[in-house]
């Protein structure tokens, strides 16, 4: 009897029983592949890697428990209902029974994904942890033009785009309001933002506000994901809004909404909502000590139509106590800075970033809180050089200045960001320069400025500033030093030993060496020998390593080498550029 033969009626065991291929799963659930895909996306079921791939290497395997999980999903039944209902409609339409078709269409069964969100993310923190992709997609769809467009047979409904836009604005408004934004980065792909919400780092990408290219991809997949993401983000927004005592969903000023100033409208909404809550609180007498102060503030700022209203919403002290150090730092970055945005700057982004760091901002156009001619404006963000009147009282900067300031957490000098000139390089805040091995010049300059701001004295470049700042860098250099010291020691000990041996031999009465004996490790090839010995020492232990570990070590060394070579390439390029500059 062959080994793999299993008698009829005997149950499968092990991996064969635990894992099924996708085709098997689809057959088992008695659904079509698109429905299976939709279910998997909504339920968050993904293939797994079995220890033994029973059906072969080119299949994707699902765990049987996952499949059972899908099987008992009420949504599956709902999707089946919808399918039969769609058939009814189709039938009515094809029989020209228009009345019936219309009536059926009005009562179409629908489903919500609320409980799926809850099921997939039992805790709020879990939802925040997985929010990156969600935010990126919602922001991308928010950037699509609001027209019903059929791409590849699949329609992207306008309502979805509008909903995405609304959700993204709500999210941005919350982040901006609570000063949770930490890092920004203008890349070619769009603008990256990183926020810290309830201790979770959330990073997302918003595309540049331009017409997006829609390639030939399967939009059904994207729309299914989006369906889930919309629900998720709405619930997350609800929770977040509730945490700062604001009603959700927000009701916006239709005038501002019409002017596409949603973010500003939202901030106004926050303002109004928060205020009413505060008043309620005072009436209830819940927080006694702060209420008087706030009441005084309130009276000061009650005419909310005036530009002062915007200032007011920024010094919202409702949750001052639980703000950590970083939030306070972020909040006060643009504290006394008043911005005005000219045309052709990324308005939406700046309207988000500047208030997030405590600044006041207005823009050119209707609905703006204050005018260009306002004397208290300190900075005007301009991209294209302007012909019109220039105010001497304010500084004209390029938009990059704002983002660089945010990343550096200091107000950088504006002279390099003058309008019309090429600004200094915009560096990614997500890179650990020391770990990477190459520190761009401007990063160093910023570091020095920061240190100057802290009234610290940093050593000049070349004496190793990086060692002081970064403990990791310190470690690295430590190790290198240690290796070098070891080598030196080894060399010394070798020479010592050689000398001792010679002495011993002499004592033994052995005849002195004849001419054909070469003194090893002396003279010109001493350096290479030391290198050789160091190599030998490192290789020696490799000899006794098991193969698995040795291969791992080799792989690590290879990746290190790759990294080093890329850094070297950068350094080489830099050298060439500097040389060319010197020559010119």
């Amino acid at each position: 009897m062959p080994k793999h033969y299993r008698p009829a009626g005997k149950k499968k065991e092990g991996n064969a029983a635990k894992y099924v291929t996708r085709t098997q799963a689809v057959k088992y659930l008695q659904i079509s592949l698109p429905v299976f895909r939709k279910l998997c996306i909504l339920k968050g079921v993904f293939p797994r890697v079995p220890k033994k791939k029973v059906k072969g290497n080119h299949h994707s395997y699902y765990h049987m428990k996952d499949i059972m999980f899908l099987k008992h999903e009420p949504l599956l039944e709902k999707l089946r209902d919808i399918r039969t209902y769609d058939k009814k409609i189709k039938k009515a339409v094809s029989k020209k029974n228009r009345d019936l078709a219309e009536r059926l269409l009005t009562r179409k069964p629908s489903y919500t994904l609320d409980m799926l969100v809850r099921e997939r993310y039992p805790k709020f923190i879990d939802a925040l942890r997985d929010l990156d992709d969600c935010l990126s997609m919602v922001h991308l769809f928010a950037a699509l033009p609001a027209v019903d467009r059929a791409v590849d047979g699949e329609k992207i409904p306008v309502e979805r785009v509008h909903n995405c836009r609304r959700l993204s604005h709500e999210w941005l408004a919350y982040i901006s309001r609570t000063h949770k934004l930490r890092k920004t980065f203008i890349s070619v792909k769009g603008i990256y933002y990183q926020a810290e919400v309830e201790g979770q780092i959330v990073t997302w990408l918003t595309p540049h506000a331009l017409q997006q290219v829609l390639p030939e991809v399967d939009y059904r997949v994207l729309l299914t994901f989006l369906e889930f993401y919309e629900t998720l983000l709405a619930f997350v927004n609800y929770k977040l809004y509730r945490s700062i005592n604001v009603n959700y969903p927000p009701i916006l000023d239709p005038r501002l909404e019409a002017l596409a100033a949603d973010l500003y409208a939202l901030s106004r909404y926050f303002d109004a909502n928060g205020k009413s809550k505060q008043i309620e609180n005072q009436q209830e007498g819940t927080n006694l000590d702060e209420s008087e102060v706030r009441l005084a503030q309130l009276h000061q700022h009650l005419p909310s139509n005036e530009p002062g209203a915007l200032m007011h919403l920024l010094d919202d002290g409702s949750n001052k106590d639980d703000q950590d150090l970083e939030t306070r730092e972020c909040k006060s970055l643009f504290k006394n800075v008043k911005f005005f945005l000219s045309r052709e700057v990324p308005r939406e982004s700046l309207l988000f970033v500047i208030p997030a760091f405590g600044g006041t901002v207005s823009w050119e156009g209707e609905g703006a809180p204050f005018d260009e001619s306002d004397d208290s404006i300190t900075h005007q963000v301009v991209d294209r050089p302007i012909q019109g009147r220039k105010f001497l009282s304010r500084e004209y900067v390029q938009p990059q200045w704002v983002y660089d300031c945010v990343n550096a957490r200091i107000l950088l000098p504006t002279d390099k960001y003058m309008v019309g000139c090429i600004p200094p390089p915009h560096l990614s805040p997500f890179v650990d320069n020391e770990a990477e091995g190459h520190v761009p010049d401007y990063a160093e300059a910023i570091e020095r400025m920061k240190a100057a701001g802290r009234k610290e004295v940093l050593p000049l470049p070349g004496t190793g500033i990086e060692d002081l700042d970064d403990p990791q860098g310190l470690l690295v250099s430590d190790r290198q030093e240690a290796i070098e010291a070891a080598k030196r020691k080894q060399q010394i000990s070798m020479l010592e030993k050689q000398y001792l041996d010679e002495l011993k031999l002499e004592l033994k009465g052995a005849p002195p060496f004849s001419q054909d004996i070469d003194a090893v490790g002396g003279g010109d090839d001493a350096i290479s020998d030391v290198q050789q010995i160091a190599d030998d020492v490192s290789n020696m232990s490799k000899v006794v390593m098991p193969r698995k570990k040795r291969k791992l070590l080799e792989a690590m060394e290879m990746s290190k080498e790759r990294k080093r070579s890329s850094v070297n390439r950068l350094k080489e390029r830099k050298k060439n550029i500097d040389q060319a500059k010197n020559l010119a």
Partner: protein, 753 residues
């Protein structure tokens, strides 16, 4: 005419009258027109006169009669009327065209006063004659297209639009230029009525009534204005004459009393309304769409299998900036060089600098990248992989400090120069005073170890394969394998007494060789070698290895190509030779005696076989699992062995433990040429073609539970490559922790501690 006459009712009779008058009119009209034509063109048309007239009359009559016939079937008045109407419609075509006819028609109309009085549609009837005429003429001038219901596209590129009844092509008419047709349209007030008939390639002008008819059709009404869709129902069933009723059942009571259930329902609804259960004009209360999903009311436990979160997307580096630092932008040459790379090796993203933010375009791959990411999210198998984020140094095993394992050979102290060719083999005398070496140049030299002085030279003519000192210190003899021969040479290193015993041993009686009629006889011949002073054992195949037994009386020789007789054991005292009594599978490459017991090791290319010489059977087979074994050495304790292979691996066998190697050390990059144990120190060494020799610490504990400790100690370099080989042989000094290596660069080196 007959069907007309057969009509019985009154109205049809009137119609008949009309018709008769009409016919008269037609006839008259015809005659007049004909006259006019004759006047205009007397010559040409005269011949065709009579047939034309008669023909036209006939056709007109026939058409009328046919029409009437068909209508008479329906038998209703209205249809008659409609017939008239249709005629009118047809006639009105000619209305405006034939302006000159108008006068005649008017005069005709004046004549027939009766007609006017009787029929309300008299006005239009006037033109009937013209209709008939134009119809008939049309029929002749533009015969109908016979192509049938085919797409007219087929004739798009043709000069004709189809075929007439005779099968002749119907030529396309010249089309007016657009400008002309437009101008014509502008001038013509009735242009909106004109329709181009593609099928017959002609322009048709709709009459007023036709347009009206079309309008009615568009409104969804019956084409005829007089048609009444809501005419009273005419029951066709003759109820009176029936003998039996259709249903004989009596009328049920429920037909006469109001429904109880209906009243109940009404009552229920009325009550509900009074109570306020049913409210009008109120929308259902909307529950808020969103709520606190994560309140603490339910348990926050995830169901199902453990969740494996997807890895987060990679964060952008400096190079993805819209304005990166200059060093991140590749030069043009580098970008060009990318084209030479494979598609998958090419960088996905090439950094580029933009002078300002407004010039940054939309990223064209944003949707594509998002899509790829999400495909991964639901299609990629997820698995927990331990990411090793450790210092690679920590992977290396903790070895005992080499300083504690001293002494071991580490530095080169002496070089023995003198050989002209690669030194293939060396051997150290058991007292540690002399070193013998054999080279490819055919010489065997004996060196004084401590001085590096060459004491003796034998020139044997052929490349020396192996030299081996007799292990007994009192008989300093040297066995040398050269070509087909094995020489046992008297080195004359010992004292005079020793010389005597050696000479005794090395004396062979020549006749004894012939005595053996054994199978070994033609394999080996013992003989005295006068030239070099010793014994010469002539083999039938080339000998590669010579190995002494520990008692100095036996020696084994190895002939790889000797097949079943490849390993021979010679007894020096008796001058005898014997085959080992075992089958050897494969080509043997090395042999060795057990240092204490009567056990014999034979290494073939694949494995090592261990034989008990007393019991005469195989005890063990050591499976090295390497490609090709090249050398073997036995630990002085006897329970461990090392095997060197041609793929650079060194296998340590603990023979008590297993037949698999206890440890495989991959030290060398090229073939191992020799391995050696130190006789007293816990050291062993290997040398290889990559010009290095490794010295290891190999401690074997007397405690059987403890595994041997193997620590690499030193890499000895110094030899250079000669004819593609590296270090050819290595041997330890018998008493000192010194190592001798023989290189293919014709040097012998001594490494001391």
């Amino acid at each position: 005419m007959k069907p007309l006459k057969e009509n019985g009712s009154d109205k049809p009779k009137k119609n008949e009258k009309d018709r008769k008058k009409l016919q008269k009119l037609v006839a008259k009209n015809m005659e007049e027109t004909l006259k006019r034509i004759e006047e205009a063109e007397p010559g040409t048309e005269s011949s065709e006169d009579s047939p034309f007239v008669s023909g036209s009359e006939d056709t007109g009559d026939e058409a009328l009669s046919d029409d009437d016939g068909s209508i008479s079937d329906s038998g209703s008045e209205q249809s008659k009327l409609s017939q008239d109407e249709q005629d009118v419609i047809q006639s009105s075509e000619g209305d405006s065209d034939d302006g000159d006819n108008d006068g005649d028609l008017v005069s005709e109309g004046e004549d027939d006063d009766n007609y006017h009085a009787e029929d309300s549609h008299g006005e239009s009837d006037d033109s009937r004659e013209v209709v008939e005429e134009s119809d008939s003429s049309e029929d002749e001038v533009a015969p109908r297209n016979t192509v049938g219901d085919v797409p007219l596209e087929w004739y798009k590129d043709e000069g004709h639009i189809g075929y007439d009844l005779a099968g002749k092509k119907i030529k396309k008419k010249e089309r007016q230029s657009k400008l002309d047709s437009f101008l014509a349209n502008v001038d013509d007030s009735r242009s909106w009525r004109k329709i181009y008939d593609q099928y017959n390639d002609e322009e048709v002008e709709l009459t007023k009534d036709e347009t009206k008819l079309i309008g009615r059709l568009l409104k969804g009404k019956a084409p005829h204005p007089d048609f009444d869709p809501y005419a009273p129902y005419v029951d066709w069933f003759a109820w009176d004459g029936a003998k039996h009723p259709l249903s004989n059942a009596p009328e049920p009571k429920r037909r006469f009393i109001p429904s109880k259930w209906e009243s109940k329902t009404v009552l229920r609804l009325v009550r509900a309304i009074r109570k306020g259960l049913i409210k009008f004009d109120e929308k259902p209360k909307e529950k808020p769409r969103f709520f606190d999903l994560w309140d603490d009311s339910t348990s926050a436990e995830r169901q199902g299998l453990a969740y494996i979160p997807a890895p987060k997307a990679k964060l952008p580096g400096h190079d993805e900036s819209y304005n990166p630092s200059a060093e991140y932008i590749p030069t043009q040459e580098e970008i060009n060089a990318y084209q030479l790379l494979f598609e998958e090796d090419r960088p996905k993203f090439i950094p580029k600098q933009f002078a300002n933010m407004r010039s940054v375009p939309a990223y064209d791959k944003s949707v594509q990248e998002l899509f790829d990411r999400h495909l991964d999210l639901y299609l990629c198998p997820r698995v927990h992989k331990k990411r090793i984020n450790i210092d690679p140094e920590s992977l290396k095993p903790k070895l005992p400090s080499r300083r504690d394992l001293k002494p071991y050979p580490s530095t080169c102290y002496l070089e023995y120069k003198g050989h002209k060719g690669p030194v293939i083999t060396i051997s150290v005398e058991s007292t540690g005073q002399w070193l013998a070496s054999g080279s490819k140049d055919g010489t065997v030299r004996i060196w004084e170890i401590e001085t590096g002085r060459c004491v003796q030279i034998w020139d044997l003519g052929e490349p020396v394969e192996q030299v081996s000192w007799n292990p007994k210190p009192e008989v300093p003899m040297l066995a040398v394998a050269v070509g087909h021969d094995v020489f046992i040479l008297n080195t004359k290193c010992g004292s005079d007494e020793q010389q005597k015993t050696i000479e005794e041993i090395l004396h062979v009686e020549p006749q004894k060789v012939e005595d053996d009629s054994d199978s070994t006889a033609n394999v080996v011949t013992w003989g005295q070698d006068e030239k070099h002073g010793g014994i010469r054992l002539k083999h039938f195949k080339s000998v590669t290895k010579v190995e002494w037994h520990r008692n100095g009386d036996y020696l084994s020789t190895l002939m790889p190509s000797g097949e079943s007789r490849s390993v021979l054991i010679h007894q020096l005292s008796k001058k005898q030779t014997q085959r080992i009594p075992f089958k050897t599978k494969g080509i043997p490459v090395a042999t060795s005696f057990h240092p204490t017991r009567s056990i014999f090791f034979t290494a073939t290319k694949k494995d090592v076989r261990v034989y008990d010489l007393i019991k005469q059977k195989r005890i063990k087979k050591l499976d090295a699992g390497v490609r090709e074994i090249s050398s073997i050495a036995i630990h002085p304790g006897g329970d461990n062995a090392i095997v060197g292979s041609r793929d650079g691996k060194l296998c340590w066998f603990d023979m008590d433990l297993s037949s698999k190697p206890y440890k495989v050390l991959r030290a060398h990059k090229k073939d191992l040429t020799a391995v050696a144990y130190h006789r007293t120190y816990p050291l062993f060494a290997s040398c290889s073609d990559d010009n290095t020799a490794y010295v290891f610490h190999g401690m074997v504990y007397s405690d059987l539970n403890e595994n041997p400790l193997i620590v690499p100690l030193q890499i000895l370099r110094g030899h250079s490559t000669g004819d593609g080989r590296g270090v050819m042989d290595c041997k330890f000094h018998p008493r000192q922790p010194w190592l001798f290596t023989a290189g293919s660069d014709s040097l012998i080196k001594l490494y001391c501690h």
